[in-house]
């Protein structure tokens, strides 16, 4: 919401400086977003008169002017200026930019220079060059009596700061300059002038004329409960008066014609949208009604809108002329030939306006105001002001007034206990101050009780009760907390004392949940292992989602096709990030992410890993660069699962990773056959290709939500003393069918003597010369832990036999 300081002062009698006004606006909740004084850029531009104009000797389109720019220049003597404007001529009074001045529109610094061989001492300017309008057809022409030599901006009244404030959705009353002035007056910055005085009226009474009242009615009392209207006949629609045009221009609105400008001006000045129809375009009565499904209207923005039967429109017998409260129709708008007008001052229901505006995706100044809720008690006065402005500036004679329907003006009040200010806001505001603040904002306060009365012959203190009336323009107020907010924002939030929250005795207790602890441990372990944490978009493209099995959630209104499906896997985001890094020349990529996957039945905490490029760079010790291999990512997975508290020793390695992986170089780690804790491996070449990656890419996902929570049983560890006797190690090599998974053999060996065998570690895999085709040699180091006594030879023999037997069950034979 933009307005100028002088505009504000039309409503507010104040001596306050600009800085005080700005500070106060922000302090009371009308946040200043910017302030700009156009005169600051125009200090070097003065009013000047063209004395003579002669053709340029070297150029047809240029003239050589002699200019009187006042006593400050050339000792009052004429200056020679080369000018290309077609309207430059002797006698013209315009605006002169002196050497050294910066032209606002293009930042050019003017200087004395020869133009086609003729010296020029500055520039006569157009409106566009001074950023005062779009006009660039010629140089500015001022009234002949404009004072030569004076700074133009001072004379033109441009020394008027434009203030831009952000109005929160609850404050429709401040969508007009007057509402802002009222708030400032309440904050002690002056007094609010009577509205009649502002509009130079004797009093705010309807300007009833003689002609027949307009034939309007509302057939949709829900969407348009009140439709007031007045005709003015015999108007002339020319340019707006200078004061009105200047105000609109100052805030960036382009004057159109006085009738249109009047509606715009009242909308900004009073937060009250109006509409003016050219009566010559209307057929029959003008009716507020619900649109018919499929009905169309060409709106003033040049676009055609198709309506439905939930939308309120203003229509005559022939067509829809207005999307009620949002935008007028092109057809019935006023033009320079308009002579008879109908002024509409209606009340539209905010919820209906919001729904229609959202459905049509159509925003307008009118919608902004109606959907927040304009003052329902301000129809007669607004119509009087509008009619007065039309008569004053366009002539014509007013008709009688039609008041169709009833605006919702039932008086509202809030019962309020002034002690609530302290209870809710923590600030003690004296009752008298509270009352004064409320009344200055237009909230009448009625106090009952609070005295002593005789009951049954005994004195009795009656409790004090406040009834706070809610002004018709404050639709947002509906409870005592709102009253506290009014009191406190005007009293000043700075006065709210900082009050420590009560603190539980002792040292603060741990607060993180199990899931958070798991995520933290995984994250920091991964970072310690050399992986960098990325945060990728939660949404991916449909194609990317398809590559990892498809997603359950597709946005109805995605911001782009690339961000459409909620990811069912963390891999697409990581793979895309990997490609971007590769494209930037990264030789080695190690990325991880901790985030959610999204499924129909919920969101699952997940960690994803992608490693690509060089595992180790070429090095003077290790030689050539090494690529990542499947078991590199397995090592990360096991480390992170262990960090997450998963029972890594009990996990079973399975195949059956998803189709995104290499079918022969991937696997899953499970707790029991169904609970998958992780899947990992080499990426399928097709998946890699889809994400623009070459070379071996390894990847994994850890399904953190599947990791069983640790049972918290205090800090005490199980009792343990290191065994007195040293462990014994024995190596076994077995020939096994090459289809046998090593993990099965190791598990079988471990299970051969659960008491004595404390570890079995596979340390060699061999096939080739000396090993039959279809077989593999697997070598396992078995660790045996004696108890009280050392193993006897018989015991060692029995354990060895058990190991061999276990291997034989899997088709293995001990190598000689």
């Amino acid at each position: 919401m933009k307005f100028t300081l002088s505009w504000l002062k039309e409503h507010l009698e104040t001596d306050a400086s600009l800085d005080t006004v700005l500070d106060t606006l922000t302090r009371i909740g009308l946040e200043v977003e910017g302030v700009d004084n156009p005169a600051e850029k125009l200090g070097a531009f003065r009013i000047a008169k063209v004395l003579t104009a002669a053709p340029h000797p070297q150029a047809d389109k240029l003239q050589v002017l002699s200019v009187d720019a006042g006593a400050n220049f050339n000792n009052g003597g004429p200056l020679q200026v080369v000018c290309g404007a077609p309207n430059a001529r002797a006698g013209l009074v315009g605006v002169f930019g002196m050497p050294g001045a910066t032209v606002p529109s293009n930042g050019m610094v003017l200087r004395v220079a020869a133009i086609r061989g003729v010296e020029s001492n500055g520039m006569m300017c157009s409106f566009r060059e001074l950023e005062l309008g779009e006009d660039h057809d010629g140089i500015i022409e001022l009234a002949a009596d404009a004072p030569v030599g004076q700074i133009y901006a001072d004379w033109a009244g441009l020394d008027d700061p434009v203030i831009d404030v952000s109005i929160t959705p609850n404050r429709q009353d401040c969508m007009g300059v007057r509402g802002i002035a009222r708030d400032l007056a309440a904050a002690g910055l002056g007094t609010l002038k009577p509205l009649a005085q502002v509009y130079r009226m004797e009093s705010l009474t309807p300007i009833a004329g003689d002609g027949p009242a307009p034939d309007v009615r509302t057939d949709d009392p829900e969407g348009c409960p009140a439709f007031y209207a007045q005709n003015v006949s015999g108007v002339t629609n020319g340019a707006a008066p200078k004061w009105m045009a200047d105000k609109l221009k100052a805030i960036g609105q382009k004057p159109i014609s006085v009738l249109v400008d009047i509606t715009n001006f009242v909308s900004i000045d009073l937060g009250r949208p109006l509409h003016v129809y050219d009566r010559a375009t209307l057929t029959g009565p003008l009716v507020a009604r619900l649109a018919k499904d499929g009905e169309q209207v060409l709106a003033l923005n040049g676009k055609t809108y198709t309506l439905d039967d939930s939308m309120t429109v203003i229509a005559d017998d022939a067509a829809v002329h207005d999307i009620g409260g949002i935008m007028g129709g092109e057809h019935s708008g006023v033009s320079e030939t308009t002579t008879d007008v109908l002024i509409e001052c209606a009340y539209f229901t905010p919820e209906a306006i919001a729904r229609t505006g959202q459905k049509l995706a159509l925003t307008s100044d009118a919608r902004q105001r109606f959907e927040r809720g304009v003052d329902p008690a301000f129809l007669d006065d607004a119509l009087a002001i509008a009619t007065k402005l039309v008569i004053d500036h366009c002539g014509g004679s007013p008709s009688a007034i039609t008041r169709a329907g009833q605006p919702p003006v039932a008086p509202r009040s809030v019962s309020y206990d002034p002690a609530y200010a302290l209870a809710l806001a923590g600030v003690d505001v004296p009752k008298t101050t509270q009352k004064a603040i409320l009344e200055s904002l237009g909230f009448p306060v009625t106090i009952t009780g609070g005295g002593t009365e005789m009951r049954d012959g005994m004195p009795f203190d009656t409790p004090e009760g406040w009834s706070v009336g809610v002004p018709s323009w404050r639709r947002d107020i509906d409870g005592p907390a709102d009253i506290v907010e009014e009191v406190v924002r005007i009293h000043g939030l700075d006065n709210v004392p900082s009050t420590p929250l009560p603190r539980a005795p002792g040292v603060a207790k741990p607060t993180a949940t199990q899931a958070q602890l798991v995520e933290r441990k995984v994250r920091r372990t991964a970072a310690a292992r050399g992986l960098s944490e990325a945060i990728n978009w939660s949404f991916i493209s449909e194609k990317e989602a398809a590559a990892v099995g498809g997603g359950d959630w597709t946005l109805a209104n995605p911001i782009s096709e690339d961000m459409k499906v909620m990811r069912p896997s963390l891999l697409p985001g990581l793979l895309s990030a990997t490609r971007r890094n590769a494209d930037r020349g990264a030789a080695s990529v190690r990325l991880f992410e901790v985030g959610r996957r999204y499924f129909a039945d919920g969101e699952r905490a997940t960690t994803g890993i992608v490693m690509a490029g060089e595992k180790t760079a070429r090095d003077w010790r290790s030689g050539k660069a090494q690529a990542f291999a499947a078991h590199d990512v397995k090592a990360e997975v096991l480390t992170l699962l262990a960090a997450a508290g998963a029972p890594v020793g009990n996990l079973q390695a399975f195949g059956e990773a998803s189709g995104a992986y290499h079918p022969g170089q991937s696997g899953t780690l499970r707790l029991g056959p169904k609970t998958i804790l992780a899947e990992y491996g080499v990426l399928h070449p097709a998946t890699a290709k889809q994400f623009g990656l070459s070379g071996t890419v390894v990847a994994a996902e850890l399904f953190l939500d599947a990791i069983p929570g640790k049972r918290k049983s205090g800090f005490m560890r199980a009792p343990y003393a290191p065994p007195a006797l040293q462990a014994v190690k024995r190596d076994f090599a077995f020939l096994v069918p090459e289809t046998l998974e090593a993990d099965a053999l190791v598990r079988a060996i471990r299970g051969a003597d659960k008491k004595a065998i404390v570890d079995a570690r596979l340390f060699d895999v061999f096939s080739g010369p000396g090993v039959d085709a279809g077989m593999t040699s697997l070598a396992v180091e078995v660790t045996l832990q004696p108890g009280e006594k050392s193993f006897t030879d018989e015991e060692l023999g029995a354990i060895s036999a058990a190991v061999v037997k276990a291997a034989e069950k899997l088709g293995g034979t001990l190598r000689g």
Binding site: P169, A354, S532, A556
Partner: protein, 365 residues
């Protein structure tokens, strides 16, 4: 006598002249071995008369000791020389590079979330979470944002198709972490003190907005909680977060449908070498204000919607952008880079695994 003396001087000279350990060993065997000359002399002692032994004995013993000592000394010297020679031969260029392995990093958003959790744990706030795919009741209606409320349009909401609706509630991506307030109040009995960090989504994308970002929500519900407690909590939190005592807040009346009164919070900064550094009053020379938090007293209707009695329980809520806090504290200036996964950026702005925020060590790193 002379024999022994000359034998001794001869042996000692030979030992001193021995050039290798093998030569020394040969001399040892020749002198002290089973057939050695010294051994032979020692053997003669048994056949001597007591008088002879009295005179010869010490001389022979002296010979044996001198030879033994000379051999040991020579052997030691030769071994040392050999070791010195080997070590000299093993010299390495210690300026050659050593591979220290890959360097990982923790994302600034995660780091800041850990910092916030640490600070608020000290203030007695636990961490709560909620779904990112929400329904419109939790995201809007329960927060006193009815369907036609202009604030709904302001939120630039991502919606899912109508057919995904659950119990007649439209599904969407949460636009703020505030629905976690609702879920917490529905599930827990007051008093409540929580923070709720997480991803949020708005259909908005430009230099300072990304369609996904991170917020942290705070909620306190108790008896007798006022705006004064809110002010203290935010001041205390920001001082702890930026680890500066000169944090100055500016509270501005504002509007959020789910709080009443509503307060926006600006924090003062000072321009230092063109960078905005948090601290000092925004009204000072070279100062300014940055909006960092939205907050207010929880609206009675919200408390009622969660089944609590607003005459008994009241409290405050606040929300702030985690990415923004990270930028203000650590000096990043492009939000989009947070979500690009550029390893160079992650290494520069990321944190070491061991930069775990603690109160004793300071939450910042």
């Amino acid at each position: 006598m002379t024999d022994i003396a000359s034998l001794k001087s001869g042996l000692l000279a030979d030992i001193a002249a021995a050039a290798t350990l093998d030569a020394v060993e040969g001399l040892r065997v020749g002198a002290l071995g089973k057939q050695g000359v010294v051994t032979a002399l020692l053997k003669t002692l048994g056949g001597m008369s007591p008088d002879e032994r009295q005179t010869q004995g010490p001389a022979i013993q002296d010979l044996r000791e001198a030879v033994t000592a000379a051999i040991a000394e020579r052997k030691g010297a030769l071994e040392q020389a050999a070791l010195d020679a080997r070590l000299a031969d093993e010299r390495l260029d210690m300026t050659l590079p050593a591979d220290i392995g890959p360097q990982g990093s923790v994302h600034p958003v995660s780091q800041v979330m850990d910092e916030l959790a640490e600070i608020f744990a000290d203030l007695g706030f636990s961490v709560a979470t909620g779904p990112e795919i929400e329904d419109d009741w939790h995201n809007f209606t329960a927060l006193n944002i009815p369907e036609t409320h202009p604030a709904r349009a302001m939120h630039d909401t991502f919606y899912f198709p109508d057919e995904t609706a659950r119990d007649g509630k439209k599904m969407l991506l949460r636009t703020h972490t505030s629905p976690v307030q609702i879920r917490t109040m529905l599930e827990q009995k007051p008093p409540i003190r929580i923070i709720a960090p997480g991803r949020v989504y708005r259909s908005d994308s430009d230099a300072t907005h990304t369609p996904m970002f991170h917020q942290i929500e705070g909620l306190v519900i108790d008896r007798g909680i006022t705006l004064g407690h809110l002010k203290w909590t935010l001041e205390t939190f920001l001082k702890a977060f930026f680890e500066r005592d000169d944090i100055v807040l500016r509270l501005r009346p504002s509007y959020f449908p789910f709080t009443e009164p509503s307060v926006e919070v600006d924090v003062g900064y000072t321009l230092v070498n063109g960078q905005r550094v948090i601290g000092g009053s925004g009204n000072d020379k070279d100062g300014g204000w940055l909006e960092v938090l939205g907050s207010g007293m929880v609206h009675r209707k919200v408390i009622e919607a969660c089944g609590l009695d607003p005459d008994e329980w009241q409290g405050f809520a606040f929300g702030t952008g985690v990415d923004r806090l990270a930028m203000l504290k650590y000096g990043m200036n492009d939000l989009r880079a947070f979500f690009d996964g550029d390893l160079r950026w992650l290494r520069h702005y990321g944190f070491s695994a061991l930069d775990v925020p603690t109160l004793s060590g300071g939450v910042g790193a």
